[in-house]
Symmetry: C2
Subunit: 262 residues, 2 copies
């Protein structure tokens, strides 16, 4: 089974199904999207959408209503094609332990989501998600998917991995493989078996090459659609990996094992 | 004709020829490489190679002898397959106008290189390459290929484009499309017809999609090998561009026109 382990809701939903079919993806782990850059047909429209995203990533905006609306949108999309999608639910950064539990109960577990993310803590703000690690542990170890590209630096990634060590039952997926810090990240996760590596958004294919070489059981193919098409993301991985068994694991087996899919 | 508009010398040279054949690339614009990460088979070895590169990019190292050795290596590789390669020669950052002229004469023109790069000015140091724009203009407008990913920020890119406006006969190729600043870069080059866009190292395919849509005549396919394979880089572009004529231009026509190839 080929599983796109990280994509955001795209509009219209038919387009997402079509892109999955084109890439021969059987199942997508679907995440909310507060913005829809895939609908932009001009640079000006795209800029408006992306600036909203950067404001969220940089902590300038944290619109609760937008987040809840995006979760409802995700639920609606999954309900139309429940055999194609598994959801991960988003959560605001900076909640207390109790607030995390309330949110998880109301918006994650109630919607049958299987994990939490995309978490986008700001640089220097990793400490804000420690209560979430505790809350995840409390409710059965929901995996956490964390954006580790810009604006995070390697100090943040190390702090995140310290939390992963402190909560070894909580799986953490390092989105985008640490970004510019991919090589240090590969070294840092060595003895942290609950740290997994997402292969999207790589600006050099050396990063996934070495990630898969070192961690063939902990690396996940994903498109991060709409930021890359599932077909292109899959093709990149297929052209990198020669061993058929490892390819199968990276394209789906590894995430299936983590989330107990199929 | 399919032209990989930016790749570095890879070792052994046979491997580069094989990768070009696999990607059906007819001609590669070849640049020096002071390091050879493609020879690394372990993370430790890779780290050693890349740390050397980062030291050069960040201005910590600027080893003249290494640069000259890399130029000699490039000349040797091209001489073995002159029909497959066109060279761009490197130059130290920070030379005076006269020093630039001497270097260009000795290491660029004498080797029949057709342009200068990869230039890797540090953040806040774009002013150091103004004398090179003047020198290029003096010797017949050799195109300049500038790395615009990290560590440059958008202020640096704007300063670079100010130089491009001041020296309109000197073509400038913005390597890696401005990196994280790709959207602002796309807006900024609008009225600067001598500014061209290199499509390698994109961490989101939205960047080349909009770059090609806005500037179908000013965008160049490249692999940045060994940081991506020519086949993967070509496949990414082919999967993005539907119009056959535009695809042909991006895959080779545009750079052929700029460098008067074929």
């Amino acid at each position: 089974m080929v599983i796109d382990s990280h994509a955001h809701v795209m509009l219209p939903p038919k387009r997402q199904v079509k892109l999955m079919a084109e890439a021969k993806v059987d199942c997508t782990i679907l995440f909310t999207s507060m913005i829809h850059p895939e609908t932009a047909t001009s640079i000006a429209a795209l800029e408006e959408e992306l600036n909203n995203l950067y404001d969220i990533l940089n902590g300038v905006k944290n619109p609760l209503n937008e987040r809840i609306r995006a979760i409802e949108e995700l639920v609606t999309v999954i309900k139309k094609n429940p055999e194609k999608y598994i959801g991960f639910g988003s959560i605001p950064i900076g909640l207390s332990y109790e607030e995390n539990l309330v949110w998880i109960d109301k918006y994650i577990l109630a919607n049958n989501f299987r994990g939490i993310g995309e978490l986008t803590p700001g640089a220097g703000k990793i400490f804000q998600i420690e209560p979430l690690f505790r809350a995840s542990q409390e409710v059965g170890n929901l995996p956490l998917w964390v954006h580790t590209f810009m604006p995070l630096n390697f100090e943040d990634i190390k702090e995140l991995l310290t939390l992963a060590k402190k909560y070894p039952a909580v799986s953490i997926i390092l989105g985008h493989l640490g970004g510019a810090n991919w090589l240090n990240t590969l070294k840092a996760v060595k003895d942290i078996p609950n740290a997994y590596l997402d292969l999207s958004a790589t600006f050099t294919t050396m990063a996934p090459v070495f990630a898969i070489k070192e961690y063939p059981e902990r690396t996940f193919f994903s498109s991060d659609a709409p930021y890359c098409s599932p077909l292109t993301a899959r093709t990149i991985i297929e052209q990198l990996v020669e061993d058929c068994h490892i390819l199968e694991q990276v394209l789906g087996g590894n995430i299936a094992r983590l989330l107990e899919i199929g």
